[in-house]
Symmetry: C2
Subunit: 471 residues, 2 copies
């Protein structure tokens, strides 16, 4: 799609808690980082300048980096570079906001046409920026506390109530929202009271120029993986939510049933989140199950090596307890590898059950072992699924995602323009009645950010309606 009616000239993208330049697969960096960077690239290719604000986590970072032609990353200093994790970040949102507003204030007026926030922390900042800049706010939640807590892994820590409160506020304030899947749109509407006509479903994509089928033998050679065995790969952050233990247990069960089976599990990623409390837990689990020698660990891989991981594997497993989309499943399929995934969230969309892989309800070891065995033991079926996977994944390109974003931006700018005109009329009327009000000498006239301002009464009413909290 080329921009026609309301194409933004330049947008501010907020990604407070993780930089699009961070290596996915460790820390707080995952699919969202890939999403933010790839959509920015694609938008820039179409002439929309993108500036991404993220919190600086190292004193070595320059204030501004060019991530791609037309894509700047602004590393905002707000709080110490190290030692703050995602749960400490709410205390740094005001300093982050202040610095974002100061950076914009150094530019010509009207510098950004729209602000797009990713994850609820950024949404809290986006709402203030929207008021200040008088532009629409588009928000993508990526994950939702209510959904995450409902699908919590055993022993994992629930998300705090304050996050759910913060999410509800952002969803009430955003002009439009992007959901990755129909399922996520339903959650936004049913669990968070989002207005259905403000939610656009835009599936994420994969970099199809990078992720496509290739020589498995060469890929295994490059990665130092054994040529003559079945390899099932897990790619992602090692934390309870992502559930790599489900794959390890299923593999152990298969090997218990048939100890002669030539099977390796490949785990690619670093510990993260609550997984950091016991970084070696997965290694210990494999040892305890007696398959320590059958599990290979690799650190997070850059994209040019990651495609070789997908090609090297016979099968990629995505056993997450929850995924708003599951980018890894699309990248794997684009690389010609079938996927065995949990039947949760966006994975039910990302994988076609029986065609490009299998979806398993729940996380019970016997179910996962059965599905894993059925896939691995059917060589022709596996080949057919690999081929179907490539076709299926071809529908998920970042070009397609960018089309969806531009449609959403177009609608947001269109609605906002309407409100802006109505607001100008209202201001003129107010000003006519306000002429008796005192003004400070030397204070310049200033446009008031009346647009999108629900006012205290509406905020109160919204709050009650959305949360059910009455006092």
């Amino acid at each position: 799609m080329e921009c026609v009616s309301h194409c933004p000239r330049r947008i501010a993208v907020l990604s407070v808690h993780t930089s699009p330049l961070a290596q996915p697969g460790t820390g707080d960096a995952g699919g969202m980082n890939v999403y933010v960077l790839q959509t920015a690239r694609e938008l820039a290719r179409r002439g929309v300048e993108v500036e991404i604000f993220t919190r600086a986590t190292s004193s070595n970072l320059p204030p501004v980096q060019e991530a791609a032609p037309g894509v700047l990353v602004r590393n905002v200093v707000a709080g110490p570079f190290e030692g703050l994790d995602k749960h400490d970040l709410p205390t740094q949102l005001c300093p982050f906001t202040a610095e974002v507003l100061r950076q914009e204030a150094r530019q010509a007026p009207g510098y950004y046409d729209l602000v797009h926030s990713h994850y609820w922390l950024s949404g809290q900042v986006g709402w203030l920026a929207r008021d200040r800049w008088r532009v629409p706010l588009v928000h993508t939640a990526h994950t939702l506390a209510a959904v995450k807590n409902a699908a919590l892994a055993d022993g994992d820590t629930p998300e705090p109530a304050s996050r759910e409160i913060g999410e509800k506020q952002v969803i009430a304030e955003a002009d439009r929202m992007i959901a990755n899947t129909v399922e996520e749109a339903r959650q936004l509407i049913e669990l968070y009271g989002a207005s259905p006509d403000r939610v656009d479903v835009v599936p994420p994509g994969a970099d199809l120029t990078r992720y496509h089928p290739g020589d498995r033998v060469a890929a295994r050679r490059e990665l130092g993986l054994p040529p003559g065995e079945r390899i099932v790969a897990f790619i992602g952050r090692i934390q309870p939510l992502k559930a790599p233990d489900v794959l390890v247990r299923a593999a152990a069960e298969l090997l218990r049933r048939d100890p002669a089976r030539r099977l390796r599990v490949l785990i690619v990623g670093g510990p993260s989140g609550t997984g950091l409390q016991r970084p070696d837990a997965l290694i210990e689990l494999a040892e305890a199950l007696g398959i320590g020698d059958r599990v290979i660990f690799l650190p997070p891989q850059p994209p040019e090596r990651l495609v070789q991981v997908y090609r090297a594997a016979d099968l990629v497993a995505v056993p997450s307890h929850n995924e708003s989309f599951g980018l890894v499943a699309i990248e794997a399929q684009a690389s010609g590898t079938p996927v065995l995934a949990a039947d949760v969230g966006g994975l039910s969309t990302a994988v076609r059950h029986g065609e490009t892989g299998l979806l398993v309800p729940g996380h019970r070891t016997p179910d996962w072992a059965d599905a894993l065995g059925a896939l691995l033991d059917d060589e022709p079926g596996l080949r057919a699924k690999g081929a179907a996977a490539v076709t299926h994944a071809a529908g998920f390109s970042w070009e397609h995602t960018a089309d969806g974003l531009l449609n959403c931006y177009d609608a947001a700018l269109d609605e906002f323009g309407g409100r802006r005109r109505a607001g100008a009329r209202l201001r003129a009327e107010l000003a006519a009645n306000d002429s008796a009000l005192p003004r400070v000498a030397g204070e310049e006239a200033r446009p008031e950010p009346v647009f999108g301002e629900p006012g205290q009464a509406r905020t109160r009413a919204l709050w009650r309606r959305r949360t059910g909290v009455r006092r």
Copy 2:
């Protein structure tokens, strides 16, 4: 003092976490609430309009309340009315800020001349409001995490690192700061890197029209207290920081030494903070020490009853582990009652050792029992100290405090005016070079908040200097 050079016409006061209309002595309400309300009244009497923004904690509150002539309290809806404590509030600072800015935006331009924030949470909001409104930010810390953590009661929970980080940021951003005592000014400078020429020492006051000596017998009758006994009163929130247990232990020790001693301990206040985890701990302690029948508990009292508490007591004890000032000590002395206080923080200023009471170093029971016995057993000495206390307290009036605040506001506005003129020149130069920059049609010219903007580089440098964090 009457305003002469730079008297603000109207100021915004930020008190995010507790309303000046809340009853002190319970929840998060204490001396700071009294301070905010009394100084607002006194400023309003001198023609400075005061609008106090606080977070609404009940749906029954009107959006605006008149607290006194010229003093408005604005109850800002940000997050649920109940269920958030002080430690959850950082997640609500962006919504609170957004609503404060929206309320101001409905007024004529230049509505507030200055913003004064109380406690670090409000400081984080004040810094954004200052940027937006282009007015100076005056900040009062009231308590400091570094100081509180250094004087932590046994078993009490330390303040989180994120608070200390937040405090450092506010102190780096504020145009001027108010310290309650010379000691607090020293802490701001030495522990937080505040620039000495930006800190004004302004002691808090007491409402001397309310707190003055009166009939002890009548006061005891009104409160239902025994007429023929020695009464030592503790007034404050029941939490480890305030250390009412130190008084109870000292009383038990005195009674162990002489069981015939006619002594009662009067505790006035409600459980708060970490004290809420075991609200009956103090009652249980008194029982365990065998003096359950010698301790009387009263709920927090409104000012008209509180003065009777001070008059009814032979002695008021303030055993806190830390106090930035200790308003109770001044109110007690103004009411003619000597004070036995811990020799910490502002209490060392509020009480004159040997003249208006005694200061005890540390919190050891034998030391406190000795001091308590020495005071109570010297009837003429107690009378003399009571008389001296009235004279001493006369130096602490809210009128005097308001004088100090106006001096500070004057300096802040004066400095800010200078920066504003320099900023206008800079903007004119920038505009001359910026004419080639694109502007969005219909976007009105907007003043840029360049004042007081240190910029990323300065923020970075400040951060390193102030925190020593280098990575």
